[in-house]
Subunit: 211 residues, 8 copies
C-alpha cells in the first residue's frame, strides 16, 4: 500500500471479470476502489455487478467509494486549455477526488482567449495545487503559473495535429516554461497530474485549518 | 532588385573591405544600404569609411540611409518575451525601419508576468503587423495573438537551456499556436521577421491614409 | 468575436446536431457560419437541415453565407505542388473566401516541372498574399517566393512517404527557406494559411482602390 | 512580488556592477537577495562589495540574507545520483534554503549501488518534498519515488556522454517514470527543482507543527 | 547452421502451410524446430498438423523438440518490470530454453516497488546471464545490474504511453545505464535477448560442472 | 585499389609528415595522389616538399598528378545554391577532375533567384551527371532535377542557422525530392558527390565518343 | 515528357477508371504505359480492360508495353537483404525494365549470412548500376559497395521493428556509408532506385557495345 | 566491491592528486588499480608518482597492476572498423586485460574492404567474446556477427560527420542488427564494451580448460 493510498487499478488490458476480482479483494480490505483507463463496455459490466460504483465516462474511471469517507480536505483546481483536453483533465479530477481532496474543474480557458482566463482567475487563484491540461503548443501552464503562488502540475495532452507530434511539442513547451512554479508529467498522464496535485493539497490542508 | 527593396548585405563571412565595396556600388545606384550579422570589429572599420552610417550594435546591423527618405508608412511593433531575446528583436526593428515603416520596440513582457503585457497592450494593439521574439517555451506569440487583429510573425530564439534544444522547443510551440493569426519564421531569424512585418505593414499603409 | 470575424466551427469531435445548434445561434446573431474538418456523413445531415449551405467535400468545409455579402476585396492566390495537396489547399481557399477575399486556386505546379510554374506566373504574381501547400520536400514556397513581392504563407502537408515523416521534412524545409518573404504555419493547417492570407489581403485591399 | 518571494537575479549575462545595483535596490526594499548562475570572477567582486554575502561556488549562487530571518520551516531533501550532478543539486539546495526551508543534501546514491540508497533511506523518507538530480539514464527518481510518500521533483542533468544527448535521455526517462509521485522540470534546472520543493514544503510545514 | 543452433523460423508474413513445409525439412534434418511471432490462428493449424508441438500463446512461439534432448545446461533468468512486458519476456524464455538452458521467469518487480525486487533477489543473483524486459523509463536493468555479477541483457519494450515513444525512452535509458554490466538489444526483441543470454549461459555452463 | 582509382588520402587526423610518407609510396607506385580535408598549415608543408603539387585552399584538397594524364572524359557539372556551399562544391570538383572528368563549376544559383538558374541552364543541361550542393532548405536539387535528363547527386551542406540543424533539414528535403532523378549523399560529403558523378560520367563517356 | 521517358502513373489515390483514362491517352501517344503503387483490386479491373497488360502483384506495378520494343540495353542488378524487402526491390526491377534495361534480381543475401553474398558475387559484380534494398540496420549497401566498381543506389525499406523507426535507422546507416560509391534515395522508394539505376545503365550501355 | 573487480577510477573531473589518493588506498587494499578517461598531463604526474604504472595514451587509461597476477584466462578480441575508432577500441582492450583476459586487437577491417576482414577471420573466429567499435553507419558488428558463434558487443563511436549525429546513426544501426548475437552499449563506451566482453570471457574460460 504505497504512499498511504490503496492501489489504483489500471484497467487497460484486463477483462471486466479480472477487474471485478481485484475490486472484491480491495472491498474486503475496506479500501476505496479506483480504476482508470476503463472502456465503456467493461464499465457496463462492472456497473451491473457493483451498482454502487461511480462511473465517469469522459474520464474513463470507475470508483466504489467507502461508505463513511472523511470530509474532503485540500483544494485542487484542474484547468483545460481546450475542450479536447477534457478527458485527461477529468481523469485528474477523479484521481484527486479519490485522494480525498476538494476539486474544481475549469474548462476551455486556453491562451488565445485571454478574457476567459481573467474571468475565472478568482476560481483558481487560491488553490493548494493547480493541474493544467493543454495540447498543441502547451502554453497555458506558463500563463496560469504567472497568476498563482502554488505549484502548477502541467499535463501535456496528445490533442493537436501536424507538428504537435502526439504531444511532444506541448511537453517541450511545458518543460521550458519560464514560470518557476511549473512542473511537468507525461503526455496524457491525467492520473499522475491528479495524484501529485492531490499529494500536495493533502499535505497543505492542515495549514488552512490552523491559520 | 527583388521585392522592390535594395538587396540586403549578409555580412557574416565577408571582410569589411568586401562589404565596403558592395556598399559603394549600392550608393552609386542610389540605394539605401543595409547590412546584417555584422561583427563589432567590422562595424568599426565601416564607420571610419562611411561616417554617415548608422550602426546598431545590439542588432548587429549597419545602414547608410539615402539623404531624402520618404516619411515612414505602416506600423510595425516588435515585442520580446525576455531581455535575452533583444538582439533578435532589434534586428527585426532595424529591418522594418529600413523598409520604410514606423517601428516600436517593447521588451520583456513574457508570459510569466501577465500585468506587464496588459500595461503595454495599448502600445501594440493597433499595429499593422506584430513581430514577437521569444525563446524557452515560446508561448508569448499565442498570448499576443489573442489580443490583436493583425498578423503576428513569431520568431523563435535560441535563448534557453536544457530541453530548449537551441530554439526547437520554441519553434514547435509557435508552429502549434492555437491563435489563428500567428505564423512562424526560422529560429533567430530577426531579419525575416522584420521583413515580413514590413511587407505587410507597407501593403496595409494606404488603408490608414484613406480611412 | 476575435479579429472581426465570427468564430469558425471546428467540426471534428462534434455531432451533426451539435454543429447545427451552434449554427442556429450564429445565424440568429446574423453571422456568416463557417465550419471546417467536416466529415461527409455529417455534411449530409447539415445540408438537409440547412439547404442553403455551401459544402466543399474536398476542403471538408461548410458555409452558410449571409444574404447580402459585400463585394470581395483583396486578392489571395492558393497554389499546390501536387494533386495530393489539394484538400489542404481547398480548406485555405474556402477560409479566405469566407473572410471576404477574391481567391484563385492553382494546382499541381510543383518544382519538378518548371515550365508549369512559369506558365501560371501571370496568375499569381499580382496577389496581395499567396498560400503554397506542398508536401514531400516542401520546396515550392521558396520557388514561388522568388517570383512574387508579397508575403508567401507556406503550408507543409503530410503528403509523402518514407522520410517525409508526416510533413516534418516539408515543415523544416519551409522554415529554412532562403526566400525572405516566406513564413510558415502548421502541417496540414489549410485553415491557418487561408486565415493569414485573408488578413493580409484585407488589410492590403484599399491600396488597390486608391492607387 | 510574485509567489511571496523577492525576485531571484539570474546573473548570467549581467555584469557584476549591474548585479550589485539590483542588490542595492532589493536591500533597500528589505528583501533577501538571491542570485544564481554566478561566475567565479563576478562572485569575487560582489563579495568585496557585500562582505556579508554568502557565496556557494559549486552551486554558483550568492545570497545576502536579511538580518532577522524566521526559523526555517518545512523539510526538503536533495539527492544526487553521481558526483557530477552536484552543481545542479547545490543550486536546488541554496534555492530551497533561501525560501526558508530546512534542507539536507545526500550525494552519490545512484542506482548502480543499491546499498548506498538503503543506508540513507532514513535520512530522506520523512521529507515534505524530495529533489532528485540525475544524469545518464535518470533512473534514480523512480527508485526514490518508490520509497517515499511525498512528491519527488526530478531534475535531469546534462551529465553523461554518448546517447545521453545533453540530458534528453534522462528527461525522457523521468517523464516516463512509473512512480506516481514523480514530476519533472527542465534539464539542469536546479533552481526550479529547489523552488518547487520549497513551495511544497512551506505549504506542508504547519502540518508538522499541528500533528 | 550458424552458431550451432538450427535456424529459427520468423513466422510473421509466412502462411501456416509455408511454416509447416520448413518444419518438415528441419525435422527430416533432425533439428529442434522453433518458430517465433506466430499468430493464434496459424498456431491452431500447426498444432493440428504437429500434435507434439509446444505452443506458448503469450510468447507467440512454437517448438517441436527433438525426442532425446540433453539435460539443460547454464542458468538464465528473465525478469520483467511490469505485466505488460510479459510477451517479450516469454519470447526470451522460450528462446533460451530452446537453446538448451535452464530458465526461470520472474515478473512484475519494477523499480517503483523496491521490496518485490529484494524478495526475489535470491532467485536471480546466481544466474549466468539475466534478461530484463522493461518499458516506460526502462530503469529496471540498471537496478538489477547493481545486484548481480553476470551480464545483464536489457530489452526495452514498447509498453508505455505518451513520451515513451514506442520504446525509445526505454532504449535510451538502458543504453545510458551507469551499471557497467548492462548491454542492450532492440525494442521488443525478446528473441535476441534470450538468444544472447542463452549463448552466454551455455559458454559459462562447464564452469559450474567443473568447479 | 578499389574501384579502379588509387586510394584517396583523408588528411584529417594525420600529420603532414605522415601524409608525405603515404604520397611517396603512391608516387613510387605511379599513382595520381589525391588528399582531402587538408588544413592550410599542412598544405604549406606539403607544397614545400612536393612543389609540383596542386593545392585548392577552398576545397581543402591537394593533388600530385601523374605526368602524362589521358585527356579528360565524361562531363560533370557542380552547382551551388549559395556562396557558403562553395567549399563542399569545390571538393566535389577536385574529386571528379582527379577521376579524369571534365568539370564545370556554377555557383550561387539558388532557388530564390530564378532568373540566375535559367541563364545558366545551357551550361549544365548536357552534363552526364550533375552535383548540387545546397544548405538551408536544400530545394535546389529538385529544381535542377526538373531541367536535366541525367542523374543529379544532391549534397546537403551544413550551411544555415536555426532549424537547419547542421544540414538535417537539407538532407530530409533532398531525400524527399519529387524529382525522380535525384539521389543523395551525406551532409558536406563533397568527395562522395564528386566520386559518384565521376563514376557515372566515366561510364557514360564512350557514348559521346561513338554517337 | 521529362527525362526521355513517358510519365509514370502513381496509382495510389486514383480510381481504376481514372488510371484507365490516363493509359488510353498514353497509348494513343504510342507510349509505354507504366503504373506503380497499384492495389490488387484496381489491378483486376485494369487487366480486364487491358488484357495485354503485365501485372506484378509483389511490385504492385502494371505495364502495357509497346508492341515493338528495342532490345534491352545496359545492365542493372537489384539486390535485397531479406525477403521482406522484396516488394520494394521488385518495384525497382519493373521500373528499370520499363526503362529498357536488362535487370537481374537477387534476394535475401543480407549481411548476417556472408557466404550467400560471396556465392552471388559473380552475378552482380559486372553491373552498370546496382540497387540494394535493405531494412533494419541497412548495412548491405556498404558491403556490396565494397565489391563493385559501379554506382550503388541504396533504398532503405521500412521493414523492421523497434528502433528501425519506419526505415529511419536504415536511411541514416546508408547515408553514412563509408563506401564511396553508395548513394541513397527515400525509404521504400523502389521506383526511384530503379529509375536512377536505369538512367545510369542506359548512359553506360554504349560502352559495352564499343569496347 | 561489485562484480568481483576492484572499482575503476573515472579520471575525468578529478585532479591528478585526487586520483593518486584513491590509488594509494586501493594499493593498500592490494587491488589492481585501473583508471580511464585520463588526460595526457595528469598521466605525466601519475607516472612520476607511480613509476610502475602502465599508461596507454591512445586508450587514455592507466593501470598499476598487482605484482603476482594469475595467468590471463578467457579470450577477447577487439575489432575496429576504421583507424579513428582506435581510442575507443584501446579502452576496451585495456579494460578486458585488467579483468584478467587474453586480448587481441585488430584494427581497420571496416565493411568497405571485404578482403581485409576475411584475412583476419582466423584471428577472431575462436574468441569467447568479440568487441566491435565502429562509427559512421556502424555496419561492421553485423558482418562480424555473421562469422562468429560467440556474443558480439557492438560499441558505436562518435567518429563520422554529417548525418552520423555524434554516433546516433551507428547506435541505431547496431541496435537494428539482424545478426542474433549482436548486443549494444553506449556511444564511445569502450570501457563498457571491454567490461562485458571480459565478464563473458571469464565465465567461459573453464570450458577451454576442460574441453
Ligand atoms: N538558475 C535559474 N534557472 C532558471 N530560472 C532562473 C534561475 N535563476 C533565476 N531564474 C528566474 O529568472 C528570473 C530573473 O531573471 P532576470 O530578470 O534576468 O534576473 C527570476 O524571477 C527567476 O524566476
Ligand atoms: N522474434 C524474432 N526477432 C528477431 N529475429 C528473429 C526472430 N525470430 C527469428 N529471427 C531471426 O530470423 C531468422 C529467420 O528468418 P526467416 O528465414 O524469415 O524465417 C532466424 O535465423 C533468426 O535469426
Ligand atoms: N512509386 C513511386 N514512388 C515515387 N514516385 C513515383 C512513383 N511512381 C510514380 N512516381 C512519380 O510520380 C509521378 C506521377 O505522379 P501522378 O501524376 O500523381 O501520377 C511520376 O512522374 C513519377 O515521377
Ligand atoms: N570510461 C568509463 N566509461 C564509463 N564508466 C566508467 C568508465 N570508467 C569508469 N567507469 C565507471 O565509473 C565508476 C567510477 O566512477 P568514479 O567513482 O567517479 O571514479 C566505476 O565503478 C566504473 O563503473
Ligand atoms: Mg493548448
Ligand atoms: Mg519565451
Ligand atoms: Mg511538394
Ligand atoms: Mg543518473
Ligand atoms: Mg519499466
Ligand atoms: Mg540552399
Ligand atoms: Mg537489412
Ligand atoms: Mg564504421
Amino acid at each position: 500500500q504505497r504512499c498511504g493510498f490503496p492501489e489504483v487499478v489500471f484497467c487497460e488490458g484486463k477483462t471486466a471479470a479480472a477487474i471485478a476480482d481485484i475490486f472484491r479483494v480491495l472491498i474486503a480490505q475496506k479500501q476505496d476502489c479506483f480504476g482508470t483507463r476503463l472502456s465503456a463496455d467493461k464499465a457496463e459490466s462492472l456497473l451491473e455487478w457493483f451498482p454502487e460504483a461511480q462511473h465517469n465516462g469522459v474520464a474513463r474511471t470507475i470508483r466504489i467509494p467507502l461508505p463513511d469517507l472523511p470530509e474532503p480536505t485540500g483544494n485542487v483546481v484542474v484547468i483545460t486549455a481546450g475542450t479536447g483536453d477534457r478527458p485527461v483533465a477529468e481523469e485528474a479530477v477523479e484521481t484527486a477526488r479519490w485522494m480525498g481532496c476538494n476539486v474544481r474543474l475549469i474548462v476551455d480557458i486556453g491562451v488565445a482567449g485571454p478574457h476567459r482566463l481573467l474571468q475565472e482567475k478568482q476560481n483558481f487563484v487560491g488553490a493548494d495545487a493547480v493541474v493544467v491540461a493543454a495540447g498543441m503548443e502547451g502554453a497555458l501552464p506558463s500563463v496560469v503559473g504567472g497568476h498563482v503562488a502554488c505549484p502548477v502540475i502541467a499535463v501535456p495532452t496528445s490533442i493537436g495535429y501536424g507538428a504537435s507530434f502526439g504531444g511532444l511539442a506541448a511537453l517541450l513547451g511545458m518543460v521550458n516554461s519560464c514560470a518557476a512554479n511549473v512542473t511537468v508529467v507525461n503526455i496524457d498522464a491525467g492520473f499522475k497530474g491528479g495524484y501529485l496535485a492531490g499529494l500536495i493539497a493533502r499535505q497543505s490542508a492542515p495549514r488552512n485549518v490552523t491559520s
